[in-house]
């Protein structure tokens, strides 16, 4: 067994995640340059903006094609990621030029429908594509229904359509879950290539579902009556039970019921938050009742629990690292400012050093860097924001390079001891 472990190659080398962060930092620098251009945006004619954007896309597509022909896999991955983000940026540009209503789900769906060829070229993009596609599916039932309404039922419709849209998209999400679970249940367990990434990310449907539930609750039940509890929680429990029964019959595991449980837990949290006014009393801890803070928390907590129960060490470490970053992030500036977050990161880094765990050390340092970036991220002047992004990207790059150089020496020194 020990020989087998020694012989087996690690999936990624030590610097893999650092390299990924380097890409991210390069992206920040690029975004900063775009922001500086955008500062003088109104002086540029719309036709030039759109023509320029399309020209950039053609150049990028050509470059990806060239990397495939010239067999340059790393550059191909990087250019595909850049292309993916460029498509997102152009969708945003169209929204801005034509003053379209900002709907994140619609944007995600458009992006997913247009950029799917990219993950055929760079399979790792699937990790970005699948969650955005699932999130974008939110928009599909309202879009279809909106078309039907416009063409057929215009006279019949009343102002209550929003409720129907939400109900339909929730039902669609549940049906997707059941269809997916049924599909996976029929697949062979050894067919890991097909099943693994999709199984992992199918849980994100529930992430979207949670936000739908939260929206529904806030919009329709501002005082959170018992009716809200019944309408949101009962379907989650019922679908969770069906999924659990399906899995039991086929003797396989799925984290879907756990995610449904998370949806229920999240709802209970929303309920408690409203009822006990946690938001005001403990504002320093949970910065606010918002999708940005709550959903990732429930998602990451569930993922950690799932990984722990199923003895998936890599997933457990990854989710705990993400939880650390989330936890540091939620210390808002009102009461504690930046210092407690940095102390937490410092403690985590010190603990990692003592335990000789370099991955955790790197995570703690990166959490600190991200927290510093977040502190100054909310700025309103586009020129300043562009400079800020460039400086942030450079700060991340310098930190990573220092970690790679001196961090290695630090560990080597300890290894000798």
């Amino acid at each position: 067994m020990a020989e087998k472990i020694l012989k087996s190659k690690p999936v990624h080398d030590e610097n893999y995640w650092m390299t990924v962060l380097l890409y991210f930092a390069s992206f920040l620098v690029g975004l900063g340059i775009i922001a500086l251009v955008a500062a003088n945006w109104q002086q540029i004619p719309n036709a030039v903006k759109m023509g320029g954007a399309l020209a950039l896309m053609v150049i990028n597509a050509g470059a990806v094609f060239w990397t495939i022909k010239a067999d340059k896999p790393v550059l191909k991955q990087v250019l595909c990621v850049v292309y993916a983000f460029l498509i997102m940026a152009v969708i945003g540009l169209i929204g801005q030029i034509f003053q379209l209503r900002s709907d994140v789900a619609k944007g995600c769906l458009t992006w997913a429908l247009l950029s799917w060829p990219l993950f055929l070229v760079a399979p790792r993009l699937l990790w970005l594509w699948v969650p955005l596609f699932f999130f974008g599916l939110h928009y599909l039932p309202p879009m279809i229904m909106s078309g039907i309404r416009h063409e057929i039922f215009r006279e019949w419709e009343t102002g209550q359509t929003a409720d129907w849209y939400m109900a339909l998209s929730t039902i669609a999400a549940y049906l997707l879950i059941l269809a997916y679970e049924y599909y996976v249940g029929r697949k062979s367990e050894t067919d890991a290539k097909v099943v693994s990434p999709l199984r992992f990310y199918s849980g994100l449907i529930l992430w979207g579902l949670c936000s739908r539930a939260a929206d529904y609750a806030t919009n329709n039940y501002p005082h959170l009556t018992i009716g809200c509890v019944r309408e949101i929680m009962v379907p989650c429990v019922v679908v969770g039970a069906i999924v659990w029964a399906l899995n039991k019959m086929r003797n396989r595991r799925s984290f879907m019921p756990l995610f449904l449980g998370a949806a229920v837990a999240e709802f209970l949290y929303v309920f408690a938050n409203k009822a006990l006014d946690i938001e005001t009393t403990y504002r320093w801890f949970f910065s606010s009742y918002s999708v940005e803070t709550q959903l990732p928390f429930m998602f990451l907590l569930t993922m950690s629990f799932y990984a722990y129960c199923n003895k998936m060490k890599r997933l457990l470490r990854l989710s705990l690292a993400a939880l650390l970053i989330w936890f540091v992030w939620t210390f808002c500036e009102d009461m504690f400012d930046l210092i407690p977050s940095l102390i937490m990161c410092g403690c985590a880094a010190f603990w990692a050093y003592k335990m000789q765990n370099r991955r955790w050390f790197n995570v703690a340092v990166m959490a600190a860097v991200l927290r510093i970036l977040g502190e100054y991220g909310d700025v309103n002047n586009l020129t300043y924001f562009g400079i800020y992004l460039i400086c942030s990207g450079l700060l991340v790059i310098v930190t990573i390079l220092l970690l790679m150089k001196y961090g290695k020496k630090l560990w080597e020194k300890n290894d000798e001891k």
Partner: protein, 133 residues
């Protein structure tokens, strides 16, 4: 053959988004209608680089539509209007106190598209650059 398919697939986003641009460009050439608006959330309708506005049908002139009736169902309940942050102060005051209208390119069979914002009869760019009230 395989390479040609791959190249075509990589250009799919360019074709899709280029088509989208042409489609929306075409949609800006329908008849103009002016809809009176107010801040969607009086506490904070100005957020970042856009204003959130809600049609005010009481103040809208419905005679500009074909059957002299305001087709409220064709319009959304609220809209966002993008602009530079430095104009926020003036426009916040204008939306709260002045006569503000969104200009749409409108056709009964298509989604209405915003083409401009009028403040006291002026386009918002004229309004913010002249400094007139």
């Amino acid at each position: 053959m395989k390479n040609k398919i791959l190249a075509a697939l990589l250009l799919l986003p360019v074709v899709g988004l280029g088509g989208g641009m042409l489609y929306y460009e075409k949609m800006t050439h329908f008849d103009r209608v002016e809809i009176a608006v107010r801040g969607y959330d009086p506490k904070d309708f100005f957020s970042g680089y856009y204003m959130r506005l809600q049609p005010d049908w009481q103040k809208t002139d419905c005679t500009q539509f074909a059957d002299k009736r305001c087709p409220q169902n064709d319009f959304a309940k609220d809209y966002t209007f993008y602009m530079k942050q430095e104009h926020s102060g003036k426009l916040s005051t204008a939306v709260n106190a002045g006569d503000v209208k969104l200009v749409f390119s409108y056709s009964a069979s298509h989604m209405p598209l915003i083409v401009d914002l009028l403040v006291d009869g002026q386009t918002y760019m004229e309004y913010v650059t002249d400094g007139k009230k």
